[in-house]
Symmetry: C2
DNA sequence: CTTTTGCAAGAGCGGTGCTCTCGATGTTGT
DNA sequence: ACAACATCGAGAGCACCGCTCTTGCAAAAG
């Protein structure tokens, strides 16, 4: 493995050397994030304490600042990870239901995957979809990961259109300013991920964006307790609501 | 005043005396809440500090605890006030659009009132509809104020039905467990506010509850920054989305 | 007038985020 | 191989936090 390809070996060795110190850095950074994520899951973002993380890791609290310049930066890292995790969950559902012929069912599966992740990681969900952190830290890093589940929903619609099961929402009048926003957004999405299949602009509709936001209204109400003593059959209610959302977006089941 | 009407005079005097000290209490309590609300609006709930409130009011920090046993209790009081404020805004919109013959427009006005209040008081909105506070303080006190805007939405539907402009959402299958929840909820709402006109149970539908939650999905996404670089024509988009929601609920415009 | 009660103030405890300095420990250039 | 360098951990310390306890004072109650 060392001499098979000389140049590759040298590069690997250099990586290993530089890796020797920066791997230690990466390992400690990962350990800090891991412990922070545990505390986040246990107590929530408000109770996450740098000193407690350091204590648990057996290091001085001041040493943490070699890896994260502030508490808000640690939280920002956790935010990015959370966006990636929920995005991955949505994409997994999208893939595993890929062959499903019913776009409505596929839409529901993606939504259910997001809800399932949220229920499994309530504090991480609250971190990204609840009140923004006071520091309001992450402007750019989170943009791409945050778009993943929106993109997953869009792919459901795109595949439905390929199968002739998408009827663009017609009668609702879309204001011109909103139409402009949607055009710009389509261009931005194409520019951000050039390798991904370009999303047809006519699928990026106002009802789809609204459904995207409304999905999180449903999840947040459930997780944040607003359905207490209102709706107890949470799963059934969510599936029914999200099915209605699919129809609003323009998806049709094959039989209909 | 003492001998005019003996019993009444004594009672009035006792009220005045008790009022003398308990009015001071009420005034200081109100001042604390007012200053706390100012800090909440400035910096958000996370940065609200009892010591800073006391400092601003020129009193020792320990004196605050005579009025609020803990920081979470102060926050709970602010939460109740915020629910009342947004509920009042919704009811005001309901009343001022009372004579409007179009239920869809009325629905939109209520929704726009909620959104307007949220934009004017973003931190208070985040306090009640964002991530729950770690202390998870208020279980019962908030239930009634929180129901006010849901009730306002319901009244729009009820008046629409009276005008023959409500078509109950039909085709979507409602699971039996959800139907049970709705029945129980209708009973509970009738019991909680016996003086209010009883809400017809057939108006308390799953789509209406869903629309209620989804409304806050739209508002939260806007306020919490998820529409940044996505939708800039916020007002137009909101109105369009909320109009679609009205149709989902079963409201019809008179002309249609 | 005395006693009881309610309130404000101060000191203090343990905790927090964060900064600074100071040695120890590599890593790098000559 | 040695010196110069950058990196890192640890400790002390600052200002702030929520909260408790005690003390003294003033007003109400008897």
């Amino acid at each position: 493995m060392l001499c098979a390809a000389p140049e590759a070996g040298i590069i690997a060795a250099m990586n290993a050397i530089q890796g020797a110190r920066s791997r230690a850095r990466a390992e400690i950074t990962a350990a800090i994030k891991e412990e922070a994520r545990r505390q986040l899951a246990d107590e929530g973002a408000a109770r996450l304490s740098l000193r407690a993380v350091a204590r648990q890791l057996g290091m001085a609290s001041s040493a943490i600042y070699r890896y994260f310049p502030s508490r808000d930066d640690l939280l920002t890292a956790l935010i990015v990870d959370a966006y990636d995790a929920v995005g991955a969950a949505a994409e997994r559902a999208l893939g595993s239901a890929g062959e499903h012929p019913d776009p409505v069912a596929r839409w529901c599966e993606v939504c259910r995957a997001v809800r399932g992740w949220a229920r499994d990681h309530p504090h991480e969900y609250a971190l990204i979809y609840g009140s923004p952190v006071p520091g309001y830290a992450a402007p750019r890093d989170t943009a791409a990961p945050a778009a993943r589940i929106g993109r997953a929903l869009l792919i459901v619609a795109a595949d439905a259109r390929s199968a002739g099961l998408f009827t663009p929402p017609g009668p609702g009048r879309v204001p011109a300013a909103v139409a402009d926003d949607l055009r710009q957004l389509a261009g931005r999405m194409a520019g951000d991920a050039p390798q991904a299949p370009p999303v047809p602009a006519e699928l990026l509709t106002a009802p789809l964006i609204a459904a995207w936001a409304q999905l999180f209204g449903l999840i947040s109400f459930e997780l944040f307790g607003h359905f207490n003593r209102v709706i107890e059959a949470r799963e059934e209610f969510f599936t029914a609501s999200v099915t209605l959302l699919a129809h609003d977006v323009g998806l049709r089941s094959p039989g209909a």
